[in-house]
């Protein structure tokens, strides 16, 4: 079983990202489970969301403490929350940042930084980075196919909004693929 932990702030769409990643994984024949851990239900408050991927039914209901993958939607969280806590050796951490991340990840963990905010602003016109980071996750982890992510986005969002989000995700997907 592989596990993903997403760190974000209320309003950034971390829970939606977890749900859509699970939907995309399920399309690929994986048994997936996605769930949120709210702090206080308001914009700006730290939020976590989790996804598990497995080849059979998932019974475990606890939160994710030793993730294989971490997505950090807002690099300012790094100051307040130990976002890298428990990450497994060989794990992948994706941080949304336009600058070099001022924190060290544990040894053996791959750190990917991507300026998802700039991509989202350019493509969506809004600094909402969840779908952009989903593209980066698809490329970095291989857990979900990009075509499945497209289907999940089209199922969730109407018309042009879905297409815009797909373009943002695709941009991040190609940047991360290109770096690999």
């Amino acid at each position: 079983m592989r596990e993903l932990r997403i760190h974000g702030r209320g309003g950034q769409g971390s829970v939606t990202a977890a749900e859509l990643i699970a939907v995309a994984a399920f399309e690929g024949g994986v048994y997936a489970q996605a769930f949120p851990a709210f702090g206080v239900e308001r914009r700006g408050a730290p939020v976590q969301a989790f996804v598990r991927f497995n080849d059979h039914t998932i019974r475990l209901r606890s939160q994710v403490y030793e993730p294989d993958y971490i997505i950090v939607q807002d690099s300012t969280l790094i100051r307040d929350v130990n976002v890298f806590l428990g990450v497994k050796p060989g794990g992948i951490v994706i941080v949304n940042s336009g600058k070099k991340v001022d924190a060290s990840v544990p040894a053996g963990v791959k750190l990917i930084t991507i300026d998802a905010t700039s991509i989202a602003l350019e493509v969506l016109g809004l600094p909402i980075t969840n779908t952009t980071l989903m593209g980066a996750f698809a490329a970095a982890s291989g857990e979900i196919k990009f075509s499945a992510l497209e289907n999940a986005l089209r199922h969730r969002f109407p018309g042009e909004l879905a297409e815009k989000n797909i373009r943002a995700a695709k941009k991040a997907y190609e940047i991360v693929k290109g770096d690999a």
Binding site: V15, A18, E19, A22, V23, F26, Y31, A32, Q33, A34, F35, P36, F38, E41, I58, R59, L60, R61, S62, Q63, Y65
Partner: protein, 384 residues
């Protein structure tokens, strides 16, 4: 068909396919997604039901009471403070023998305010005369709604039912669920035929005054109906299994408990985590098993006694506390095992959304093995 969806949406779909005629509910976290989805379904003409918007949970269940008395299949959903506000109406619905089905997205009760999961809400209403089912996962959460209607409306039973599933832990979780089709559900659950109903052309009184000459007998009949529900559940659960492959005939369900030395008893979503913990402990050579209580009312005392007569000790996990006594499940399990010699040890845990991990289950088994129990588990040290 297997689809991946949020627990609340899966429950709303199951409710829709159960063809309720009247829905009355008041939104409250973490139940909200269920009733929002149902309201959409009614507004979009996907569900031919009367959706009554109300100003409180008290009114929601009162509206269901009236609609059910008039012969409709009715539905509501709530949690926590909302259920607490329904307390009075809950007793009226069950005392009038009205088969209302209500989903409880289990949540802690204030104060202090908490939106997170435990089972204090429905467990606190254990004496209100409703059937109580608890789901381990979202598959069970959906299937138990069909079973609940079938049992509640059985003329041998005629009692309302709570279908409980853990708030957030299940209600907000996306996972694969095998959804039945409308045709499937119609085959299993025919339209509700009330034994008697309020009818202007053939008037009767319901919920009337009972003098001391008769009140005791009403309560006896209520209790007898609850006892008859055991057979009705087994029958409906078996029929469901024959039709769709998932058998819910047992009120309790064992997992690796047949040769266990330590039996864990749990309710709801905790059972999944316990099963994973048991597999790890078994690999390490410990003979541990689980007895899951799927139906808490009627209480399966005989079934627990039969399933656990061989074990050396029983560890009961309670996501509730009867303050000043113990966790409610531990109290009742100990009663079920009266006369047996094995220790029955209770652990109150996971209150107000405190996460429960595999390591916690292992620690509890170690505590039970050393005879330590009847305690809170996982407290911060500063309160000790």
């Amino acid at each position: 068909m297997l689809e991946i969806t949020e627990g609340s949406h899966a429950v709303a779909k199951a409710v829709k396919m159960s063809r309720p005629q009247v829905i009355a509910a008041y939104p409250i976290t973490p139940q909200t997604h269920i009733v929002e989805t149902l309201a959409d379904m009614v507004a979009d003409c996907e569900l031919d039901a009367e959706y009554i918007t109300v100003e409180s949970e008290f009114s929601a269940l009162s509206a269901c009471l009236g609609a059910s008395a008039a012969g409709s299949r009715t539905y509501s959903a709530t949690t926590s403070q909302g259920l607490a506000l329904m307390f009075e109406v809950c007793f009226n619905v069950s005392g009038m023998r009205l088969p209302v089905v209500m989903t409880i997205a289990n949540r802690a009760l204030g104060a202090p305010l908490s939106i997170w999961n435990d089972q204090q809400d429905s467990i606190s209403l254990r004496d209100c005369g409703w059937l109580q089912f608890y789901a381990e996962d979202n598959q069970e959460a959906t299937d138990l709604h069909y079973i609940a209607y079938k049992v509640a409306e059985n003329p041998e039973v005629l009692l309302p039912a709570f279908v409980c599933f853990d708030g957030f832990i299940l209600s907000h979780t996306y996972e694969p669920v095998d959804m039945l089709t409308q045709e499937d559900v119609d085959r299993f659950l025919p339209p509700y035929k009330p034994v008697q109903k309020l009818d202007a052309d053939d008037p009767i009184s319901m919920g009337m005054y009972a003098t001391p000459d008769y009140y005791l007998e009403f309560r006896y009949e209520h209790d007898q109906a609850m006892k008859r529900a055991k057979n009705a559940i087994s029958k409906a659960g078996k029929e469901f299994g024959e039709m769709f492959g998932r058998d819910y005939s047992a009120l309790v369900e064992g997992y690796r408990v047949e040769d266990a030395e330590t039996a864990i008893i749990a309710i709801g979503s905790l059972c999944g985590t316990v099963k994973d913990a048991i597999d790890e402990m078994r690999t390490a050579g410990k003979k541990v098993g689980l007895l899951k209580i799927r139906c808490f009312r009627p209480f399966p005392a005989d079934e627990i006694r039969d399933a656990l007569s061989h074990v050396k000790r029983v560890a009961v996990l309670d996501k509730n506390i009867s303050v000043g006594a113990k966790g409610a499940v531990a109290i009742e399990v100990r009663d079920a095992l009266y006369g047996k010699t094995m220790p029955v040890l209770g652990y109150v845990l996971g209150l107000g959304g405190r996460d429960v991990r595999i390591s916690d289950i292992k620690n509890i088994v170690s505590l039970a093995e050393s005879g330590k129990g009847d305690q809170f588990y996982g407290l911060r040290t500063e309160v000790l």
